[in-house]
Symmetry: C3
Subunit: 422 residues, 3 copies
């Protein structure tokens, strides 16, 4: 996954444009048998309260100082340009140029990431220290961009399962050269697609979606709302999943969907110090999937959360910030969530009173002070298999991780002591 991030990192992506298409080409090449379907949505398409804007492409951007030095060079770092800048080529004094320069006074060494999608502007981003060092005089600002009718690009992969009910993953493809936010999410989605496509069978159908943040999610929802509302049982927005620091769960609007429940149950055993945030701390496409009237059960999953980690939306969010192990941790967590969902049925004991486990070899036949504790997980699983508890409930009541219960459930199903409740 880290290698894929390295390939995606240099590309200049925005909410539209050729950088997005290049990104999809790379991702598609990773999943040979099961291709992402790519959709192009024309400029001007309405989606609820929004309209797909003009497509933006850019070849170059820089500033020439009075002494002729080239600074804010887009080719060195594509964060230097205010994204969606209109073209400009003009000489102007520093005092006027400053209205178009964006910096972070409290992180003076870093270049900020900024954009202006729906209001025509041009501008450059640079470190506050560099701004402070600029001499008076006449500067030349050059942005060789095109903002014109085109289309917005999004991708979708559907992996059918035994049921039409769906588990959905989403991430986004509109961020330029930042590693955690957001090469990590598309990379994780790609590897989850690999994992899911090789499963011998899937109970759920899986839907994986990559689109530009906000406008892309809104367009996607507007095209699929009724189907998503009636079929998606759990959704996960994946973003900032590449560093080695925290694990974060940003809850749904009321914190009570299947997504909240399963991810909480996974994280509490494997990363007990994970951070939980309520929905007021949301910030990515969970905002759209959980919007009033949309109400698709979605949570957001991060390692260090957007808006929280100091490198967020700056040039310090680079390939040094993320790691193979950080991405792997996120991947493991999502695979555990998938397995838990696949087994998340309600189970019912087929006998009355405790079954005699000893005669089936499930517990020792000799009863002593020491044998009792060893088989408690199995006995507690049986004790709460009264047909009202799903796997997540069983984990809560037995104080056992779901991945420990699943093999016990398999054993009890195979000897007929448990049955699934339809």
């Amino acid at each position: 996954m880290y290698e894929l991030c390295k390939r995606l990192f240099p590309i200049c992506r925005s909410i539209t444009g050729d950088g997005v298409r290049e990104t999809f080409r790379i991702i598609q090449s990773e999943i040979p048998d099961t291709k992402f379907k790519i959709y192009e949505i024309p400029t001007g398409t309405k989606a609820f309260d929004w309209t797909v804007p003009n497509e933006w492409n850019i070849k170059d951007a820089y500033i020439l100082t009075p002494s002729g030095e080239k600074i804010c060079d887009f080719k060195k770092n594509n964060l230097h340009v205010l994204h969606y800048s209109v073209p400009v080529s003009k000489d102007l004094p520093l005092s006027e140029l400053k209205d178009h320069l964006y910096t972070l006074a409290d992180q003076p060494d870093l270049i900020p990431y900024a954009s202006s999608y729906y209001s025509e502007r041009w501008g450059f981003c640079l470190s506050h220290n560099q701004l402070m060092g600029l001499e008076d005089g006449i500067y030349h600002a050059e942005i060789d961009s095109v903002l014109s009718p085109g289309s917005l690009t999004l991708g979708e992969l559907i992996l059918p399962g035994m049921s039409d009910d769906e588990v959905m993953f989403s991430s986004y493809t509109c961020h330029p050269s930042m590693a955690n936010n957001e090469c990590s999410g598309p990379s994780l989605i790609t590897y989850l697609a690999k994992y899911l496509s090789q499963l011998p069978e899937r109970r759920y159908t899986y839907r994986l979606v990559l689109a530009p943040e906000t406008i892309g999610a809104i367009v996607y929802i507007s095209r699929n709302l009724d189907y998503l509302k009636s079929h998606v049982k759990a959704g996960f927005n994946l973003t900032c999943v590449g560093d080695d620091r925290a694990y974060s769960l940003i809850h749904s609007r009321y914190g009570n969907t299947l997504s909240d429940r399963v991810l909480n149950a996974v994280l509490k055993y494997h990363y007990p110090d994970f951070d939980e945030y309520d929905y007021t701390k949301r910030g990515s496409d969970e905002r759209q999937y959980q919007a009033p009237g949309v109400d698709i059960p979605f949570v957001c999953f991060c390692r260090s959360k957007y808006h929280i980690y100091p490198e967020y939306h700056t040039s310090a969010d680079n390939l040094d910030l993320i790691s193979a192990s950080g991405l792997q941790g996120s991947y493991d967590c999502m695979v555990k969530a998938i397995n838990a969902l696949e087994w998340n049925q309600k189970y019912r004991l087929t006998t009355l009173c405790e079954p005699q486990l000893g005669k089936r070899g499930l517990v020792p036949t000799m009863s002593s002070k020491e044998t009792y504790q060893q088989t408690l997980a199995l006995k507690d699983l049986i004790a709460y298999s009264d047909g009202t508890n799903d796997l997540i409930d069983l984990s809560k009541y037995t104080h056992q991780p779901m991945e420990r219960l699943i093999p016990l459930i398999q054993k009890l199903l195979s000897c007929g002591l448990l049955e699934e409740v339809k």
Copy 2:
């Protein structure tokens, strides 16, 4: 309000009598356009388990010591007489007189307040230190009171609103010269009447009631029970609202009425250290409004709570204990509760997904790390406006005070992004 308290303080009030009528005359004079209606309920009137007692009036009361000194002089402090004392004029030795003297051993400098409404007695209240200093000998006890058929006086002001649904405030007029308990409550009710009567429009109808504690509330309920039960949506009993110490919320029987919810939501932002008490700590007319089968949604609001503050029911509850700022704090709190109730509708977003706020000038059109946080309250309000949350819920979910949300709601209603749910 403090000036009004000063005028009310010297009057000798009890559960009946001319002191109550004088109190109402003063209050009526403060609200020229909208007068309190005054009701006189005759002695002997039945009200549930109770009967309106004889009316009590008193001209004078004192004790002459063996040396001829006048002590326990009613004209100096009307707490000196046991309220509802029958007339007496007799000589008796100290040993016999002591059966009629009431003191507070643990607050030896203070005169207690005591009464005996439903069992005929006579007596005097004095400081424990004074009692200890009394010499042996023959004393003369003189109480020039009249206890005879008359009536109980209560007052009611109804300010109609767009709806028949009501918000109700109550306080009581039966306490003699004590400032916090209870000149402050009638004074606050008077100023809330002024505030409410000048509002350009009222969604709710407002009902303000002043009556003697317990018997007055019971009589009032017995005359209006069915109407109050079906129309009062939130009620507040106001008592001990004049000092500068705590803010106290005494909850309804189960702590879950609209009154509990709105007052809690007001207090948690403005006086976060306020004291909450469950219904077992009740003590004033909330006892009647919340009685089983009555069940009118009522809480009680105080600054320092009755039974808790040390001056309670003693001569130390005087005009030095309360202040203009203390009364103003209570007034502000009630006005906030009124405004919150007026806006306490459920709201629903009229678009699907997030609305595009930028094109309406509601958020900055340029997206950077710094602009996001500034508009969170607005975005959180939208995120929870799913038609199930009233203003109080919205305050809880967005972690914002209601008074900050109300102008945002007005803005969103006016641009058509929100609608009220009927």
Copy 3:
């Protein structure tokens, strides 16, 4: 109760056999008028997933060392034999004998208690220190036991009340010479039978059951399931009730039955430091009564809980571990629970607003700062008697122990201010 424990202690009980019958003879002799009914359930009887095993009786068991010393002598301590051992009489070297010896390495001075009911074995239990001291050589193992068709013995006492609804107590009779676990439970059951049989009237019918643990409870349930499910409103499994240390409440599966509620309400006032355990800490016959589909409302009550106290299932669980006061504490607690259940109705105030308590002599007629607090329990009881709260709820809301509320309820019922809600 302690004397009864002393009589029961020496008997070698198991899940079947003459030791159980001897135990019942002693218990029956304690309750002359109302006898336990004794049932004999033949070997081979099916009960859900189980079958009643062969009956086991034993005359003697010991090991002879190479030097001819008799060790592990059953006649000195019946824990020395692995319970349900098949007969054996053979010479064998120490290395082979060791496969049949059971010790506790971490409690090296104590003899463990062990059994093998459903898989044929023979063995001896001894202290780990004794095992370590055994010399090499040829040993003789002698177990003079009989394992053959017979029956399982269980006992039941039903004390009819005004209602067919039942309160049930259970304990078990299958443990050999251990005092707390389990001479204490049958002894307490016996004394509760005495208490209940002399009550002038009983609202509930009481059912007291003694049977071997697990198989006995399962057999008993299989014979009575429908009746128990529809009639038992609260059940208590009593075990390890004889020491002077903790009080323990092991909750039902979801912790929300009448049994949980009443025992919790008793313990929180009388032994506020009692230990609460969720259902995953169960271990005795509550496992069967609360099994999925059985769902009889049962909790388990202990002083120091099984699996927790260090002497559990060892030779240190002897008559020194329990005491008359320890047993008495358990008895008092159960009697309080019985009384609470007998009065656990919902009550409704018969007047609207507060009743006038003074005219009935229920509170002082003079109102002063000091009289108010004295009658709060009575007033709070009235305030929450709205027909929705039973005695347990009233205890919770008024913050008063149930035994304090019961006489107040009796007083209010007798003067007509309260009525029971059917």
